[in-house]
Symmetry: C2
Subunit: 325 residues, 2 copies
Amino acid sequence: MQQFDLDIERVISIIKDRNCKTIGLQFPEGLKRRAPGIAREIEEKTGADVVISGNPCFGACDIDTVLAGRIDILFHFGHAGLGKHDNVVFIEVRSNVDIVPAVRKALPLLKTRRIGLITTVQHVHKLDQVCGVLKEQGKECVVGKGDGRVAYPGQVLGCNFTAARVDCEELLYIGGGVFHPLGVAIATGKRVVAADPYLNQAVEVAPEKFQRKRGGYIAKAMDADVFGIIVSTKSGQNRMQLALGLKELAKKHGKKCFMIEMDLVTPEQLLAFHADAYVNTACPRITIDDAERFHAPVLTPQEFESALGERDIEEIEMDEIGQDN
Amino acid sequence: MQQFDLDIERVISIIKDRNCKTIGLQFPEGLKRRAPGIAREIEEKTGADVVISGNPCFGACDIDTVLAGRIDILFHFGHAGLGKHDNVVFIEVRSNVDIVPAVRKALPLLKTRRIGLITTVQHVHKLDQVCGVLKEQGKECVVGKGDGRVAYPGQVLGCNFTAARVDCEELLYIGGGVFHPLGVAIATGKRVVAADPYLNQAVEVAPEKFQRKRGGYIAKAMDADVFGIIVSTKSGQNRMQLALGLKELAKKHGKKCFMIEMDLVTPEQLLAFHADAYVNTACPRITIDDAERFHAPVLTPQEFESALGERDIEEIEMDEIGQDN
């Protein structure tokens, strides 16, 4: 069974060192269950008052800034650091799941000698081990650094695949889910093999079906008259300048459009506005993962340019948020 | 059909007078549909850039403070002013629904001569008319002022029934829904007749069934070992001092408890924490309206005191938020 190690001793030692009296804790959904016990342990060992953030948390881009403003220090669990925050400490979480069996299953699918390695933060400490397995088979490994938005070599985010842009023809992704390896395949144009240690399986990523589906949304948005442009208020997801540029573009093409600022971007909240289509400048994953739940097409910024005839559909890149937004 | 009048000319004149360049708009759910059109009208007539808040909005206690911090002026529609905000203008909304037929249906249910009148903000401009109808029948009307949290005489909120505390034995509530008149009946202990102009009907409020149900939640919470105490981050719903007092009380009784700060308090978000019971210091309506959707008992502060044996169940008052919280 997968276990996550949370370094509570480090948390307690920081609280004592800095003599903090009021403490905030923020966890991604999968770790919230452990929050009450951790809060109690901290209160017992430090005497400080602890408040847990009860809001949904989707990443290091999603700091509970309201809570952070009310307490001495906020510990944000489960994600590597991102952005500048005065009183936020990121407590990363490492998975102890064994990645070797899935990597061995990936070996027969790899066609070339030089392999780029990528993963998410909870497995970054295993990349050396992966490299060892590949070397045994005569392969060569390359691990990209990524831009300033990612904390570790080889680390990819759902909105940032810069660490995958390395000199190789094939990439091996280690981790769960289909979103990250799909994003890497589209962002880099390279062949991607995904080794999933949770399901203990390996597959080659096939982005064509996904891209056909996106083409359908773009076609539907071409008939839209009224566009809603979504801007996030989350700490690491605000792309207002991009949104303002898109608004100008819409005007140039005689489209009606309005700007919506939101914290949580949900199908229910968008429904109220009755636009014909939306453009999402918040977390790129929302556009993709929730696509079928929205009542109207929700496009990435580049897909929107394509719908307006300003960009060839073949030249649409994966929506990413870089170190400079 | 009910229409709501929104004073957009006033909005435009304020923007021009104050020479504002960036404008925020916030609407309750029922008015969000009109937001894109209003945004466009404002942009065309003033040249300013408009951003709409896409977050849920439940009252004047629920200002989008993040948006307000990013623009010159925020217009908050549909609620009467509450709290101090530097750059927020409240644009109230009046319903033009005819309240007289429902009031006439209420007349036979009123047993005494002196009647207290109460309503919600969208009908406050009709209280004189209601009074006229009652006077024709030889009744006397009394309208309470309420505390500093309410803007108009006779106005009640879901969390404040101070305007109902007047010298009379019977109250007539004009408006939709069952929550407000139920709250008034429990808060004042008086007989309440509710005249609903939307359904064109009048009924006497019977709080006994509701109170029995609450008694069931309190009984269930008596067996709880772990309590989560919910504190809101919304501008007009934060009762941290009250919550800290409840935490001390829980400790005194040997209960484990933890504090959760949240924006939206939903059953889904609470589920993650696996407490045996919760105490809600955020909007009192959440405790009542969503009671059956929560996986565990969610109590008001006074219900919690009762579950701990610190308050007689007969002495539980309706949970209210006053002018001083």
